[in-house]
Amino acid sequence: MAYRARLKEFQDILQEDFVQLIKLKKLAFNGIPDDQGLRALCWKLLLGYLPPERESWQDVLNHDLVVMPGSEETNGDCTLLDHPLSINPDSQWQTYFKDNEVLLQIDKDVRRLCPDISFFQQPTDYPCSQIVNSNDVKRLHTRVQRSVLKCANVERKGLGITKIALVLKKAQEDYQPMTEGQEAHWEVVERILFLYAKLNPGQGYVQGMNEIIGPIYYTFARDQDAAYREYAEADCFFCFTNLMSEIRDFFIKTLDSTDCGINNMMVRLTNQLRESDFDIWLHFQQLELRPEYYGFRWITLLLSQEFPLPDVLRIWDTLFSDENRFNFLIYICCAMIM
């Protein structure tokens, strides 16, 4: 079908008062056009963030929500009851230090997000003003920044002459924080992931979640409609949460062997392979090449590390439109082997 005709079909479906999800899924399954922020809007519908009733969209999207993880914490508070060395499990300081461990991991990973494109290192047009105008105090990554004591060689040459050689060298970082008033996209992603980890303490942050949130945030933060783009952070948080509710079991070690855990998905992949290409399946068996060695990452990350970002977006159009999530993912993985 010609591109324009496809575009028109999408517009027709999305303009109805009640968006027919079945129709949308059928259409989006074959890819969503890159134009006019269609992908962002469709994903919000497909991930169940926006309801099909058009008139209620404004309520959902009308966020007054500004969440600032860490802003309520009373760091710097030292009393007899609570202090940095307190071993009381209710101690706010204890929580603060535990959170920092999670944050440290997130910080490492968001700085490694989509390194092949510059997008995440660019400043966002919509920084969180309370944070970026705080002299860096409220920036999340400053909580886990490594500080080094300054030292200098002091040489005394005769009476009254002292030479202080202060050497300050720093490694150049690509994912550098922005100047006051600006915020890079990776800082926004860091905030969303940290908030998610705080709100889901049973799961916390697991490496790889950055690769799930990356494509969603990228899509929303590049929406052609500025009114949507402005709320990319909040929209992304909720869509990420919804998507995680479907795939979070892949990230939890204790659920590996349950029906919805990763092992079962890998069994499904093996079975599909046996059905589709017995010879390859047999060959893999003989080599003892188990799906843990190749398919684990494919499934956990919904293929987001296997292809360039534009291709990942296209694949996700289909995955999100899959009525029986994530059957089609298994098909793709199987096709990748054959």
Partner: protein
């Protein structure tokens, strides 16, 4: 490497472990493909690559396994440690915490890997001289105390990367080839079937068993 990939005398499996971000994946890619990526993605699940080297005229094929640093992925399969004869335990010389966690990784190895596994402590990112947070002597002393070999590497400028792998593979080769002299492989000698090897346990002297005092 001039040898064909499927011709080798020995195949050794070596695992890379250590905190996330210390450069495990880059050590792997530097050794096996002579590649380094400043902006590599975090490793999810397991990855592996091979390279063959020569020791004493024998071709040793090293199969090197790399995994994510985070707890969730360590035990994804017991298979990660299964059959591993060597481990490179990597820390970042510019991040002290990654060095402090070395003890945790040693425990992990004790719990999951073969007890005879050869372990080498690797201080990576030695190019970051001006940011050094772990002293060479300190790490060396720690390695000696724990019976590990030790080396500092830089996957970025290639310093010592080949040496690190060469050393550990040679060490493994020496152990394996000596073991072969001691215990010839099955079939080489004729053994009566009904003879069980006798396991002589050290005698426990009851006097030397420590008594609890002041209970």
């Amino acid at each position: 490497m001039s040898t064909r990939d499927d011709e080798y005398d020995y195949l050794f499996k070596v695992v890379l472990i250590g905190d996330s971000g210390v450069g495990k994946s880059n050590l792997l890619s530097r050794f096996t493909r002579n590649e380094f990526n400043l902006e590599s993605k975090s490793t999810i699940g397991v990855e592996f690559a091979t390279r063959s080297i020569q020791v004493d005229g024998k071709t040793i094929k090293a199969q090197i396994w790399d995994t994510a640093g985070q707890e969730r992925y360590r035990a994804i399969t017991a298979a990660y440690y299964r059959g591993a004869v060597g481990a490179l335990l990597v820390y970042d010389i510019a991040k002290h915490l990654t060095y402090e966690n070395v003890e945790r990784w040693l425990r992990e190895l004790r719990d999951h890997a073969d007890q005879n596994i050869v372990i080498m402590l690797v201080g990576n990112k030695s190019d970051l001289r001006h940011l050094r947070a772990v002293l060479t002597d300190e790490a060396k002393a720690f390695a000696e105390r724990n019976g590990l070999s030790f080396i500092e590497t830089s996957a970025l400028d290639s310093t010592n990367v080949d040496n690190a792998f060469q050393n550990i593979l040679t060490e493994i080769y020496r152990i394996v080839s000596q073991k072969q002299i001691r215990d010839p492989p099955e079939g080489d000698t004729i053994r009566p079937q009904n003879v069980e090897p006798i396991d002589v346990k050290p005698t426990v002297n009851s006097d030397s068993v420590r008594k609890q005092c002041c209970q």
